[in-house]
Structure formats: C-alpha cells, structure tokens
Amino acid sequence: MTANSTIHRRALLSGALWAFFARNPAFAFGQDGTGDYDFATLQAFVDVLLPADALSPGASAIGVADEVSAIAQAMMPFHQLISLGVGWLNNTGGPPFHKLTQEQQIRVVDWMSRADFNQIPRRFYYLVRLSAVEIYYAHPDAQAGFALNTAPQPQGYPPPWV
C-alpha cells in the first residue's frame, strides 16, 4: 500500500488544486493567473526552498524550476496557481521577489509557510514545494550525504546493517 509514487503525488496535487479553486472560484476563472509568469522569481523561490550548500547544489542549478514549469504546462490549474503565486511574490511591497536579498526572501517564504492554507501564498508554497522536493531529491547530485546508492539495484543493501 505504498503512498509514495509520482502518480500518488500528482493525485495529491490535483486534489489540493481542485479544493483550492473550488473555494476560490474567482481565481479559477478570473483574468489573473492565466498568462505567463516571472520565471526568475520561480527560480529564486525554489532556491530558497532548496539552497545550495557544501554538499549539494541549489534547486534551480539542477533544473527544478524548469521541471515545475513543465508540470504546470500540462496541468492548467497548477499553471494558474503558479501565476498567482509568483504575482503575489512580486508584489509584496518592494522589488520583485528575485531581486530581494536572501534574508528578505527567506522571511517572505517563512511567512508563506505559516499562512492560511486556503489563500494563495500558502497553497503556492505547499504545492510548489511538493513538486520541487520530488524533482530535487530524484537527482543524484542532491543525494550527497545520504546513505543511499544512486539506485537500489543492482547492489541492494546486503547485511550486516548498522
């Protein structure tokens, strides 16, 4: 009964999007959120979620923002949410999100992570994070520091185990 596959997570993504737009129909059918979005801000956002460190690269360096965009291309409600979320990030009162300092970006994302789940900032944070971590940790470069083979087979993990 595994709950751990892309299919399951896509179902979770669809369900969360459906629930959000059902509660907020004006967003679903309004003018906002249907056009292009500022990709630099999406890149900056995923790099705040998954920054580079001594062991592994940042998210955008291994294509996370590109793949999130590709998923959104194929899933219109997700595209709408990203457009709305990126628009919100770029209108927090100062310069666009990707031009904020790293400290400012972290403060914004921290606020988003604790905001009302039924509003755009938190839903955007939750669903983009869900996709971003899946894409990121599937990449071998992101797995440095884990007691993992690149793939479970063909070596497996024979005993003895610590």
Binding site: M1, T2, N4, V133
Partner: protein, 549 residues
C-alpha cells in the same frame, strides 16, 4: 472467430490463483489456455530500480495493466475523530470533509501475467485456523466449508514451489513440513520493534516471506533493496510469473494470451459453461472449453459473472458481488533518534501475531496483525521523507533531511473485516470499459466492529513505537478515512449451503459444474490480517486436484 476443443481448461486471469491453477493442471498433463487482460512484464526492463530517479516511479504502468473501477458508497467518518485521522507532518490532515475516499484514483491491483503478485510485498501467510469458523464461534460472518487441515498440504506444496523463507515457530498454524528456506535477517527498524515488543510482552518474529533468503535454482537470494512493491528486477521475490507461470510454461502445455479481455461467459442449454468470448487485438474470439476457471480477483470476477447474463452467471444464490470485504489497515510512523539505515532490508520482515486469533481483541470479533512497515510504505528514499515526514524549507530543511533519513520506523496493522450487506461489488449503470462492458462499482462501508478494531490497531501501533523510543509521530493513515484495496475478498464466497454461497469447498460453482473460481472472491472470511496470496494459491492447487480427479 471460434476455437473448438484445443484446451482441457481455460483460465481467466494470470494472478496468484490463475497461475497456481495453471501450474497444477499442466504439470498433471492438461492443456491450458490462460487469458490475461493485461500485459507481460519484463522485470529487467520494466522495473525502474536500477535507474537514478527510481523513487519517482511507482510500479510500472503498461497498456491495460490497470483495471478500471468506479466507487459507490464508501461510507462517511466523523472529522472530529482525530485519533483515527490520516495525516502527515508535511501535509497535515489528508481529508477533513467526512467522505471516505479511495487511496488512489485507480483500483490498486495489477493486470498482467503474475497479477498483483508482481507488486506485492510478498508476505506468505497461512490463515489462522480459527478464522475459518467465525459463524460457528461468534455468530458473525461465514464459515469456510473446509478446515485448515484440508488446506495444509496445499500450503506446503505452494511454499515449496515459491521458496518461502520463515521461522519454525508458527503458533496455531501447525505445519507438516518446515519452511524450505531459513528466515530473513531482521532489518534495523524491525530489530527495534522486536525489542520494544518484547518489553511489552509481545512476540515479534521474522515474517514468512515469498522472497529467497538463499539462491534457488535460477533465482538469486534477496539483496534487501527494500522496494518489493515497485517490482523485483532480480527475481528473488516469489511473484507468480517467476514461480508458477515459469514452471508451467516449461511443460509446453500452457498457452498464455496477453491483452485478452474476456467479455462474456456463455452457457449451454444444460447449464454447463460452454465457453467464453474475449477481445484480443481488436478481434472477438469465442473459445469453447470443457472447464472454465475464473481467477480475475474479488472485483473483476463478480463483474464478469454479473455482466455475462441477466441476473448473472452462477448467481442463483444472489450472492455474486455480495459480502465484499476491504482491507482494514492502519500505519503509524515516527522518526527514531539513533536509528540508522531503516530503508535497508526486506519489507514487512517482522510480524506480531499475538492479536491475530479472532477473539483476541476485547469487544471485537476478528483479529489483526502488526508488522514492521517502514519499507513497505515507501520510506526507502529521500522523496518520501521530504513529502511526508520532514517539513520546512531552506538550509535547515536540507540539514534535517540528511539527519533524519534512515530514522523512520513504522508499525503497520491489518485486521479482520466482517461482511456487511452495505458492502458489495455491482455493475456501474453508466460507465463501461473499452470493450463496452459495464465497469464494476465498489461499495464498502466500515462497520462499528471495524472501527473498534481499527482503534485498537492504532493504539497498539503507537504503543510499540513509543516503547521503541519514538517521541513524535510524523505520519499516520488508515481505513477510517481512506478506502484501501490491497486485499479484497468475499464476492463469490464459498460455503456449505448453496443458497448463501457461490462455490463449494472445492471452489466449484454451485450452479455450473464445470465452472470454478480460484481467487480471493471465494474467501468466506478475510482472516485477521493475513496476506491472502498463499491461501489463494493453496485453494487453487486444491481445486486443480479436484478438476483432475
């Protein structure tokens, strides 16, 4: 197109029951046609466990490898009952609106040569003998028309062919022969649960597993990658394709037709089954048969019977599709400081049978079992941790991921379901499959007995984890708000009386003497959490002997 007389037996479905039936028949000289709606899987090609990014893939999907179903009444739950809610540390509550939902969008079984054994974890369980007489003992559910003693020789035959590994002590499940392979070593998480269980007076032991602990013939020993349910690319897991099917094909007397979707069972004027029609590569074929065996599972078998004639085939009792029993399941997971490498080892390698006897839980009819579940539920890679167990973002999140990976420890539980009139499989009045046949619609509602047993299962799972040293849980989920189809039973149940059952103790139809059913639909009771594949196979081999005789 019509085909006459080429085969002694036609079997529908190449899963656990169909494969075992085919093996027994062909190794006794019969010629068998096995019709399988799904494809054949190539373990080396189709299972993704050798590739980077493996964790994003579940079990492989191929054309026709997933059956379509619809859902009717799955019951409701009280959103205020937080103690039985499904949740995790990243997403919070999974559902809160009071409507029980299926775990995924699709029915969780595999269509293909090997059936659901292709992605099963591979537990090889015998039923508890007392689980087979619920009606007599508790005036609930139904009795099996055979006993553990009747089935025991067939369990032994199947275990031998599969290469089941397990420990000698099996309690009430007495054995006429030892397991053919020694038990697997306990993984890091399982050892912690065994120790915690012992401190609580519980007996956690090595599970009996359809996975090789030693090389055997042309199959290697398990190398403990922990991902059985994504498909085993090396062949140590005893799925039906590398055991029963492989041996049966070696005889030259088995023909397997993949992508063959049976649309109808045809009856002769004398009440016998005359043949089946099926669609293969866009062509409809009629196949005569002296004997027909249905082994398409507890959802598709009743669907085919109901769709084949007005009122259904083999349905004089009105029991086809009735008595549906779902999987009553619970899982609790925590992160345990000091535990390392919990992703390594064999899934479900430790089990506790202490509460498996049907009268072992106070106030409830039916037992349950507990097992180490960490690999089984997917905590074998970092994506699972990041999406379910480790919240947050940024440098702190990445640090927590490296610190916590390998610390997950899980207790899973599965319990008895008593058949209820509200739970059944019927025909969808509107939706059809690609050949125009009505889809099955599943109705399944939890009884108070199930909720009470589920509450016990959740309480015990938390108790063991707490004893192991887990301070905070990170995920729990169960049947209270999520409908699960891992193990489903009962929709063509066997019985002593033809007015309350569909088949007899030999799996033979009460209405049509040349029709047999050998899948979990014949189970008269679900058992107290035992995984059903070995019992399906034992029943199928026994039924094959009846056909041969």
């Amino acid at each position: 197109m019509g085909i006459k007389g080429a085969f002694d037996v036609v079997i529908v479905g190449a899963g656990a029951g169909g494969a075992a039936m085919a093996w027994r028949l062909v190794t006794n000289g019969a010629k068998v046609l096995l019709l399988e709606a799904g494809p054949r899987f190539d373990p080396a090609q189709d299972y993704p466990l050798t590739e980077p990014g493996w964790e994003r893939a579940g079990f492989a999907h191929k054309p026709h490898s997933t059956a379509s179903v619809t859902y009717g009444d799955l019951g409701r739950y009280d959103p205020g009952e937080t103690g039985l809610a499904s949740w995790n540390a990243v997403s919070g509550r999974i559902h809160e609106d009071g409507a029980r939902r299926p775990v995924d969008q699709a029915y969780g079984h595999v269509q293909g040569v090997g059936g659901t054994t292709l992605h099963f974890v591979g537990e090889a369980h015998r039923l508890h003998p007392d689980s087979m007489a619920l009606r007599t003992r508790f005036d609930q559910g139904a009795d099996w028309p055979l006993t553990y003693a009747d089935l025991e020789p067939y369990y032994t035959i199947c275990e031998s062919l599969i290469g089941v590994a397990g420990p000698a002590d099996q309690g009430a499940r007495w054995r006429s022969a030892p397991f053919v392979q020694p038990a697997h070593p306990l993984s890091p998480a399982a050892k912690r649960l065994q120790k915690a269980g012992a401190q609580l007076g519980q007996n956690w032991q090595a599970n009996s597993r359809a996975a090789l602990s030693q090389p055997r013939e042309n199959r290697p020993a398990c190398n403990y990658c922990g991902n059985c349910s994504r498909g085993c690319p090396i062949g140590d897991k005893g799925s039906a394709d590398v055991t029963f099917i492989a041996d049966a094909e070696d005889t030259g007397r088995l023909v397997i037709r993949e992508h063959a979707t049976v649309e109808k069972i045809h009856l002769a004027p004398d009440g016998q089954v005359a043949g089946v029609s099926y669609i293969h590569s866009g062509t409809r074929t009629y196949q005569e048969t002296p004997v027909l065996v249905l082994a398409a599972g507890a959802v598709q078998t009743p669907r085919l019977l109901l769709a084949s004639a007005s009122g259904g085939v083999s349905n004089s009792s009105g029991q086809v599709g009735r008595n549906f029993m779902e999987t009553l399941a619970w899982t609790s997971t925590g992160l345990l400081e000091g535990l390392e490498n919990s992703h390594m080892g064999l899934p479900a390698d430790a089990i506790c049978w202490d509460y498996n006897q049907p009268d072992s839980v106070s106030g409830v009819v039916g037992g349950c079992r507990f097992n180490s579940a960490v690999q089984e539920i997917g905590f074998t890679g970092p994506i699972a941790y990041a999406t379910r167990a480790v919240p947050g973002f940024g440098a702190g999140f990445k640090h927590a991921m490296r610190r916590d990976f390998g610390r997950a420890i899980s207790v899973g539980a599965i319990g008895e379901v008593i058949a209820d009139a509200r739970s059944f499989v019927g025909l969808d009045p509107q939706k059809t499959d690609f050949i125009g046949q009505p889809l099955p619609v599943i109705h399944s509602v939890l009884t108070q007995n199930s909720v009470d047993l589920l509450r016990f299962m959740a309480r015990q799972a938390r108790r063991v984890l707490a004893q192991a040293g887990v301070r905070d849980l990170v995920e729990e989920y169960g049947s209270y708000d999520r409908f699960s189809t891992s193990h489903v039973f009962g929709t063509c149940r066997m019985g002593h009386q033809s007015d309350t059952s569909v088949v007899d103790g030999n799996c033979r139809s009460n209405d049509h003497p040349n029709l047999y059913i050998t899948d979990a639909s014949v189970f008269a009771s679900s058992g107290g959490g035992e995984s059903p594949s070995l019992t399906i196979q034992a029943l199928a081999v026994r039924a094959a002997d009846h056909i041969i005789s």
